[in-house]
C-alpha cells in the first residue's frame, strides 16, 4: 500500500467520522436529564456512541475509498490480485472488537449495579397500571392515591408496580427509564429525581386499543412542597366534609380522564356524563345512592346505552378505601343534583 493511499484513506476516515460526530453533537438527541439514573445512562450512551462513530468512520472510509479508487472500467476484464487472507489482520479484527465490546459490557454492568442499588431512606410509591390509566399511591402517607406521580426532588423513590390486566410499561424519557408492569408480578424501578418540572409518564408496552392515550405526568418538586402536598391531600381525603373529600378522591383516582362532571371541571367523554347521574339511575330503575356506588364498584352491573362494556376498570371497589368511597358517592350525588 502506498503512502498516498494511506493518507487519503485516513482523510476520508476523519471526514466521515467528523460528519458522524457533527450529527451526534449538533442534534439534541436526548431530552433533558431529570434523574440521577439518567446522568449515568447518558454517560453509557455517549461512551458507546463514541466507539460506534469510530467504527463507522473506519468502514465508511474503506467503502468510499474503494468505490473511488478500485473502480474498474466496464471493458476491463482482468481480475484483482488473488489475496486469500491475512492471518494478522484477521486476528486483529477479532481481538479489537472483542476488547471494545468487553469495555462496553463492563461500563454497562457497573452503571446497572449503581442504578439498581436502593438507598436506605428511599421513599416507596405503589404504581397501578390498567387499561388505560395510571394510579399512584403513597403507602407512607396512609395509602394516599393520586392520578399524577408527585415526587420530591433529590430523594430516591422506589416504584412498586402492578398491573390489573395486561402488560404495561412505565416510561419517563426525562428519567431515561423503562420498566414493564406484568400482571401477577410486582416489578420495581428506582428513580432519584434531580430537576423540578412536569414530565410525561408514558405507557410503553402495547396494551390494547387505548394504548396511545395511556399517559399521565410525573411532577418533581421541592421536598418542602412535596410534604405540603401530602399534608393537604391527606387532609382533603379524610376531611369530614364530603364535598372536599369526595372532590379529592375524584381527582386522585383519575375519574376526570373519562367522565364529565361540572363540579370538578371534568370534561372526559369516554364514559357517561356524571352530571346526568339521576337520569341514569331512573333508567336503571335503582335508587340513586346504591346505583352510584354499584356503578363504581361493579361497573358492568348496569351499562348506560351508548357506552361500551368492560371499559371502566372493575377494581375501584377494592382500590378505594371505604371511607373515601362513601365520600365520593356523596360528592357525586350532591354534584349531579
Amino acid at each position: 500500500m502506498r503512502r498516498g493511499s494511506i493518507a487519503s484513506l485516513l482523510g476520508i476516515g476523519i471526514v466521515s467520522g467528523g460528519i458522524a460526530a457533527a450529527v451526534a453533537l449538533a442534534i439534541p438527541w436526548l431530552p433533558v436529564s431529570a434523574s440521577k439514573e439518567a446522568g449515568r445512562i447518558d454517560f453509557v450512551f455517549w461512551f458507546v456512541v463514541t466507539i460506534c462513530i469510530v467504527i463507522f468512520a473506519v468502514v465508511a472510509a474503506a467503502i468510499l475509498y474503494s468505490v473511488v479508487v478500485f473502480r474498474a472500467a466496464p471493458d476491463d476484464l482482468s481480475d484483482g490480485p488473488p489475496i486469500h487472507g491475512h492471518t494478522g489482520l484477521e486476528i486483529a479484527w477479532t481481538i479489537v472488537p472483542t476488547i471494545l465490546v468487553t469495555a462496553i459490557g463492563i461500563v454497562s454492568a457497573i452503571v446497572l449495579s449503581q442504578d439498581d442499588a436502593v438507598a436506605k431512606n428511599a421513599m416507596n410509591v405503589n404504581v397501578t397500571a390498567q387499561q388505560f390509566t395510571w394510579t399512584f399511591s403513597y403507602p407512607e402517607a396512609h395509602g394516599l392515591t393520586s392520578a399524577t406521580l408527585m415526587l420530591p426532588r433529590g430523594r430516591e423513590t422506589v416504584l412498586h408496580m402492578q398491573s390489573r390486566d395486561v402488560i404495561h410499561a412505565f416510561f419517563v424519557p426525562e428519567f431515561r427509564e423503562n420498566q414493564d408492569i406484568v400482571p401477577g408480578l410486582t416489578t420495581t424501578l428506582n428513580v432519584t429525581p434531580t430537576r423540578d418540572g412536569t414530565y410525561p409518564v408514558i405507557c410503553n408496552e402495547l396494551c390494547g386499543l387505548g394504548h396511545s392515550t395511556m399517559r399521565s405526568a410525573a411532577v418533581v418538586m421541592e421536598p418542602a412542597a412535596f410534604d405540603k402536598w401530602i399534608k393537604s391531600q391527606t387532609k382533603a381525603v379524610t376531611s369530614p366534609s364530603a364535598a372536599t373529600a369526595g372532590a379529592a378522591v375524584f381527582k386522585n383516582n383519575g375519574c376526570a380522564a373519562c367522565h364529565t362532571l361540572n363540579a370538578a371541571q371534568a370534561t372526559g367523554k369516554v364514559g357517561p356524563d356524571l352530571d346526568k347521574l339521576p337520569a341514569y339511575a331512573q333508567q336503571a330503575k335503582q335508587p340513586l345512592a346504591s346505583f352510584v356506588r354499584t356503578s363504581i364498584t361493579d361497573p358492568n352491573a348496569y351499562i348506560q346505552p351508548g357506552y361500551p362494556k368492560n371499559v371502566m376498570p372493575q377494581t375501584f371497589g377494592k382500590a378505594i378505601p371505604k371511607q373515601q368511597l362513601d365520600a365520593l358517592v356523596t360528592y357525586l350525588i350532591n354534584s349531579s343534583k
Partner: protein, 649 residues
C-alpha cells in the same frame, strides 16, 4: 422459466372426450379440486366441532371461535393442499395403491401454468417462492404506507384504533413470515442445488409442499382484516395476555398463520440440511462450498432447532384464547413472561435466520464483482457457525425491562455484545475483499455495498441496544423501529434485491435493465435513509412505538418520515416494472454474464431441467478469481439436454 424446450414428455393427459375432460378437471390435481376439497374439509371440520358440542351438550352449539379455528384455519387449508395435489403421491403410497412410476411430469415448467401447480422442480419452486413473497412484500409495504398516513400528523383519525393496531401488526407479520424468511428460502431453493452440482433437492415433493403452505399462511394473516372484530392488533410479537385473552377472533388467524409459515420453514430447512450434507458433487468438500451454501446450511440449523419454539408459544396462546386454558393467565396460575421467553427463544435466532442467507448472497456478489477471492474464507464460514451458537444465548436481550429475573441481564448483555465480533469479522472481510479489487458497479454490487453501509449502522445501533442501560431508555421506542429496519431492510431486503438481480439472468434466461436497476437502487437507498434515520431521534427523545397518536413536539419529524416513506414505497414500482418487462422482453442472457466461477453459472441460462448433463467434478475453491488457470469444477461438455431425459419406465 426453466427448460422451456426439448421435452419429449408433453403432458400426457389426453382427453378422451367431454366426459373425460370434466372428470379430469374435477378429480385431477389443480385449483378446481383444491376449491371443492377446501369446502369439503371445511365442512367436515365444522361438523366435527358442532357434532362434539351437541354430543357434550355444550352451549352455544355454534360457537364461532372453535368453528373458525378447526374448519377455516386447519381443516380447510389441509383440503386445499390435498386438492392442489400436494399429497397425491404419499396418499397413493399410504393406501397401498400402485404408485405411478416417476415420469417427471411434475418437473420443470413449460408454460406459465406450470407455476400454478404442485411442481417438484427446485428451480420452479424457487421462482414460485420469490413471486409469492414479492406479492406479500408489496401487500406488507402497502400496510406500512397506511400506518404512515395515520402518523403523518398528531391527533389524526384516519383509522380507528383496532384497524390501526391491526395495520402495523399484519405489516410486520407479513414482512417477517411471508417475505424475508421465505424470500431467502426461494433464492436458496433455486441456487443451492445448482451450486452443489445436484439435480434437485433431496426431497422434491416435500419441497413442493413447503411452498404451498406459504400462500395459506399469507392469506390467513391478510384476511384477518375482514374477520368480525378486526385483525389481530397486538403486534407481531403477540405478547400474552393481551393477545391470548383480550383480542377479537383475528388473533387466532395470526396464531395459525405462524404455524403454517413455520411448518413451511422447518420442512425447507430439513430439505436443505439433507441436500447439503448428502448431495454435494464429488470433490465439493465443506471447505470448498460457496459461502451461500454455508449460509443456508447454518440458517437451516437455526430454523430446525428454533422454529418449534414459536410454534409452541402460538399454540399455548391460542389454547388460552380458544379453550380458556391458563398458560399465560396470571389469575389462574399462568406466567405471562413465559410467553416472552419461549417466543424470543425462536424470534431472536429468527433475526439470524433473516440475516445469514443475506450474508451468503453478499459473499457471492462481492467476490464476483470485485474480481477477487473472498477474504478469509474459513473465518467467514466459522463466524457463521459462531453466530448460530451464540444466537441461541441472547434471546433475553429483548426482555431487559420485561421484569424477568434481573441477574439474567448481564450475561445476556455479554453474549449479545460478543455476537458483534463474528458479525464484525464478516464486515471487515468483505471490506478486505473489495480492497484492491476490480470493482464493477452492476445493480447487485450496488445493493451489496448499500447493504454493507446500512447494515453497519444497524449493527452499531444493535451494540447500543445490547448495553442494558441504553436499552432501559430506548426500548419499545422508535429507536427500536429504526434499528430493526436498518437490520431487516438495510440488511435483509437489500441482500434479497442483490440476490434477485444477481440470479435474474439465471432464473429467467434474460437480462434485467441495468439503468432501471441502478435507478431502483438509488431511490431505495435515499428513501430508506430519509425514512428510517430520523426515527432514531424520535426514539431517543421518547416517542413510543406502536402508538396511533403522539405528542405534538414530534409532528414535524413524523410528517417528514411519512413523506419519505411514500417515496420509498414508490421505488418498488421501478423494481416491479423492471422485473416484469425484462422477464418478458429483456435481452437473452448468456450462461455466465458475471464471469463467476460457482457451478450455477457453468450451465445454460435457464439451466437444463435436471441441471447438469453429468454430475460435475469439483476440483477447487469457488472464489479463485485472479489465480491463473484456477478452476472450481470440471463439467462434462453438454451436447444436448435430451440425453438425461430418458424416463424410467
Amino acid at each position: 422459466m426453466t427448460a422451456a424446450t426439448l421435452d419429449p414428455h408433453e403432458h400426457q393427459l389426453t382427453p378422451a372426450g367431454g366426459k373425460g375432460v370434466v372428470r379430469r378437471l374435477l378429480l385431477g390435481p389443480g385449483f378446481i379440486r383444491a376449491g371443492w376439497m377446501f369446502c369439503l374439509f371445511g365442512a367436515i371440520g365444522f361438523g366435527l366441532v358442532v357434532g362434539f358440542r351437541w354430543w357434550g351438550g355444550w352451549h352455544p352449539l355454534f360457537d364461532m371461535t372453535p368453528i373458525t379455528l378447526v374448519s377455516l384455519l386447519v381443516a380447510g387449508p389441509l383440503g386445499f393442499l390435498a386438492g392442489i395435489g400436494a399429497f397425491d403421491y404419499w396418499t397413493r403410497y399410504a393406501i397401498g395403491s400402485p404408485t405411478r412410476p416417476e415420469d417427471h411430469s411434475g418437473h420443470g415448467a413449460r408454460s406459465w401454468r406450470d407455476y400454478f401447480r404442485v411442481n417438484t422442480d427446485h428451480k420452479v419452486i424457487g421462482v414460485q417462492y420469490l413471486v409469492t413473497t414479492i406479492f406479500f412484500f408489496i401487500a406488507g409495504g402497502f400496510l406500512a404506507m397506511l400506518v404512515r398516513v395515520q402518523l403523518a400528523r398528531p391527533g389524526s383519525h384516519f383509522f380507528d384504533p383496532q384497524t390501526y393496531n391491526g395495520l402495523f401488526s399484519v405489516h410486520a407479520s407479513l414482512m417477517i413470515f411471508l417475505f424475508v424468511i421465505p424470500a431467502f428460502a426461494g433464492l436458496a431453493n433455486f441456487v443451492v442445488p445448482l451450486m452443489l452440482g445436484a439435480p434437485d433437492m433431496a426431497f422434491p415433493r416435500l419441497n413442493a409442499l413447503s411452498f404451498w403452505l406459504l400462500p395459506i399462511a399469507g392469506i390467513m394473516m391478510l384476511s384477518s382484516f375482514v374477520v368480525p372484530g378486526g385483525a389481530f392488533a397486538c403486534g407481531w410479537t403477540g405478547y400474552a395476555p393481551l393477545c391470548s385473552s383480550h383480542q377479537p377472533l383475528g388473533a387466532i388467524f395470526f396464531n395459525q398463520g405462524v404455524q403454517w409459515a413455520g411448518a413451511s420453514s422447518i420442512m425447507t430447512a430439513l430439505n436443505f440440511l439433507v441436500t447439503i450434507i448428502t448431495m454435494r458433487a464429488p470433490g465439493l468438500t465443506f471447505w470448498r462450498m460457496p459461502l451461500l451454501v454455508w449460509a443456508n446450511f447454518t440458517t437451516s440449523l437455526l430454523v430446525v432447532i428454533a422454529t418449534p419454539f414459536i410454534a409452541g408459544s402460538q399454540f399455548f396462546s391460542m389454547f388460552d384464547h380458544v379453550m380458556h386454558t391458563a398458560f399465560f393467565d396470571p389469575n389462574n396460575g399462568g406466567y405471562p413472561l413465559g410467553y416472552q421467553h419461549i417466543f424470543w427463544f425462536y424470534s431472536h435466532p429468527a433475526v439470524y435466520i433473516m440475516m445469514l442467507p443475506g450474508f451468503g448472497i453478499m459473499s457471492e456478489v462481492i467476490s464476483v464483482f470485485s474480481r477477487k477471492p473472498i477474504f478469509g474464507y474459513r473465518l467467514m464460514a466459522l463466524s457463521l457457525m459462531a453466530i448460530v451458537v451464540l444466537g441461541f444465548s441472547v434471546w433475553a436481550h429483548h426482555m431487559f425491562t420485561s421484569g424477568m429475573s434481573s441477574w439474567l441481564r448481564v450475561p445476556m448483555m455479554v453474549t449479545t455484545l460478543l455476537i458483534a465480533v463474528p458479525t464484525g469479522i464478516k464486515i471487515f472481510s468483505w471490506l478486505a475483499t473489495i480492497w484492491e479489487g476490480k470493482l464493477h458497479f452492476n445493480t447487485p454490487m450496488l445493493f451489496a455495498l448499500g447493504f454493507l453501509s446500512m447494515f453497519v449502522i444497524g449493527g452499531l445501533s444493535g451494540v447500543m441496544l445490547g448495553a442494558v442501560p441504553i436499552d432501559i431508555h430506548v426500548t419499545d421506542t422508535y429507536f427500536i423501529v429504526a434499528h430493526l429496519h436498518y437490520v431487516l431492510f438495510g440488511g435483509s431486503v437489500f441482500t434479497i434485491f442483490a440476490g434477485i438481480y444477481y440470479w435474474f439472468p439465471k432464473m429467467t434466461g434474460r437480462m434485467y435493465d441495468e439503468r432501471l436497476g441502478k435507478l431502483h437502487f438509488w431511490l431505495t437507498f435515499v428513501g430508506f435513509n430519509l425514512t428510517f434515520f430520523p426515527m432514531h431521534l424520535l426514539g431517543t427523545e421518547g416517542m413510543p412505538r406502536r402508538v396511533a397518536d403522539y405528542a405534538p413536539k414530534f409532528a414535524d419529524l413524523n410528517m417528514f418520515i411519512s413523506l419519505a416513506s411514500f417515496g420509498l414505497g414508490a421505488s418498488v414500482l421501478v423494481f416491479l416494472y423492471n422485473m416484469i418487462t425484462s422477464w418478458k422482453n429483456g435481452p437473452i442472457a448468456p450462461a455466465n454474464p458475471w464471469r463467476a466461477l460457482t457451478l450455477e453459472w457453468q450451465v445454460s441460462s435457464p439451466p437444463p431441467i435436471f441441471n447438469f448433463d453429468e454430475i460435475p467434478q469439483v476440483v477447487g475453491s469457488p472464489y479463485e478469481y485472479g489465480v491463473p488457470g484456477a478452476q472450481h469444477a470440471i463439467l462434462a461438455p453438454s451436447p444436448s439436454h435430451e440425453v438425461e431425459e430418458v424416463a424410467t419406465p
